[in-house]
Symmetry: C2
Subunit: 255 residues, 2 copies
């Protein structure tokens, strides 16, 4: 298919590279900043532009991959007909694209980093479209780059996004705290790699509810108290430890 | 080496199986409950007992692998000479074994589950001993089952244990919350497997501080507010989301 992109960040880059290697044609890449547009365009053989009016009108699909809260305003400036317009944002409802006759959502559920390859084949693509024919088109496109394609409506997608904040952003924050504690003891976070891989494996093999262990679950007040004492020099960590421990205990008591 | 074990739970089981396959002799397995002792003893070719006095006195090393807070009392009943006595507990200082001339700690940094195999080769063994010769013995023993052997004193080990609570127990709790949100939408937690694997990879490749992303880090108040609205039916989740988000923002603002 002939595709154009709005955006040149992490998601835009990884998606367009994946589409390109799946044999699609990337016609144009738009960014407000022409240098950024050029940087991505050269990687995927597209024409860079910083004018919305110059987006190739031969494109069959236009993918908008910019910051979530910038989509609504950009869309107001966009004059297009017939092209299927899809955004890639987890937290933005499909209907911000309502002024286009053909629209949908093309959301890759993954955390992307610049200069780090992503196996798109394993990235769940969560799709939505304003009608069946458009859904089919997005499905075909998604299936050309990923084995995991699902239809998810705007409300579900928003819930997925919240759930991902807990399971990825908050989890990474726990890693940061852990790393800070280890660093102070001149111990490397890499020491935790087998433990954390196993934690992940167990969560998927047993389900996270059955996989829960630790002093909070057992309400092992002596260990908890001694941990809180150890964290006395850092009220933020101490406070989080205390709240999470009592939250875990309450959560599992009800089960 | 000739080894005896006190304990028959997850850690005792996985350690004795690993030692056995490394060619060591497990002479006796003690448990207060004889049936439990038998269950493990039969797996490792040892003699089961529920009397502390019957622990084989030919043993060179006695490994105590029972609940952290039960070690101190058990030790008071233990009459042994010469044998090197080591416990496997993360949060218990070495000096609870101070009445034995030869003592130390043999702590495997991993989360163990019954009926799930563990590749001990990858389990960091954190060691401590009351003198150099005993440390050498524990080192030799640890190196026979694992590639990752480190010397860590009681204070460091306790910090490691707190750090592990954040990176494993609290992380799993985040997974539980995430899973609960997805379940309500009839979506499977498996959808998150690629995201969570990548979250882990990034934390180790970039370090967790550089790997942090998400609305809290960007202080994206609109997305945060909409997420809090979505969680309105569950004050516990809402409260955690709010606290963790502001904690992330404050934490990274200082960097």
């Amino acid at each position: 298919m002939n595709i154009s992109l709005i955006g040149s960040g992490n998601v835009a880059t990884h998606i367009s590279l994946a589409l390109k290697s799946a044999g699609h044609e990337i016609l144009s890449v738009y960014s407000r900043n022409l240098e950024n547009a050029k940087e991505l365009a050269v990687k995927v053989g597209a024409t860079p532009t910083n004018r919305l009016g110059e987006i190739a009108n031969k494109s069959e699909i236009l993918i908008i991959s910019i910051k979530d809260d910038a989509i609504e305003n950009l869309v107001l400036e966009l004059e297009l007909e017939n092209i299927l317009v899809a955004h890639t944002a987890g937290s933005v409802p499909m209907n911000v694209l309502g002024r286009f006759q053909n629209h949908g959502v093309f959301y890759p559920l993954q955390t992307f980093t610049k200069d780090k390859n992503t196996d798109f084949n394993e990235v769940p693509m969560l799709l939505e479209a304003n009608n069946e024919p458009n859904l089919s088109i997005l499905k075909k496109l998604a299936e050309s780059i990923s084995r995991k394609v699902e239809q998810v409506d705007s409300v579900q997608r928003k819930k997925v996004h919240v759930a991902a904040v807990f399971a990825s952003n908050f989890v990474n924050y726990m890693f940061s705290i852990s790393n800070a504690i280890l660093s102070k003891e001149s111990l490397s976070f890499e020491l935790f790699e087998p433990l954390l891989k196993e934690t992940l494996n167990k969560a998927f093999q047993l389900g996270p509810e059955k996989a829960q262990t630790g002093p909070a679950l057992r309400n092992d007040t002596e260990v908890i108290k001694s941990h809180l004492d150890l964290l006395a020099d850092d009220p933020n960590k101490q406070n989080l430890y205390s709240l999470l421990s009592s939250s875990i205990f309450e959560y599992y008591k009800k089960k």
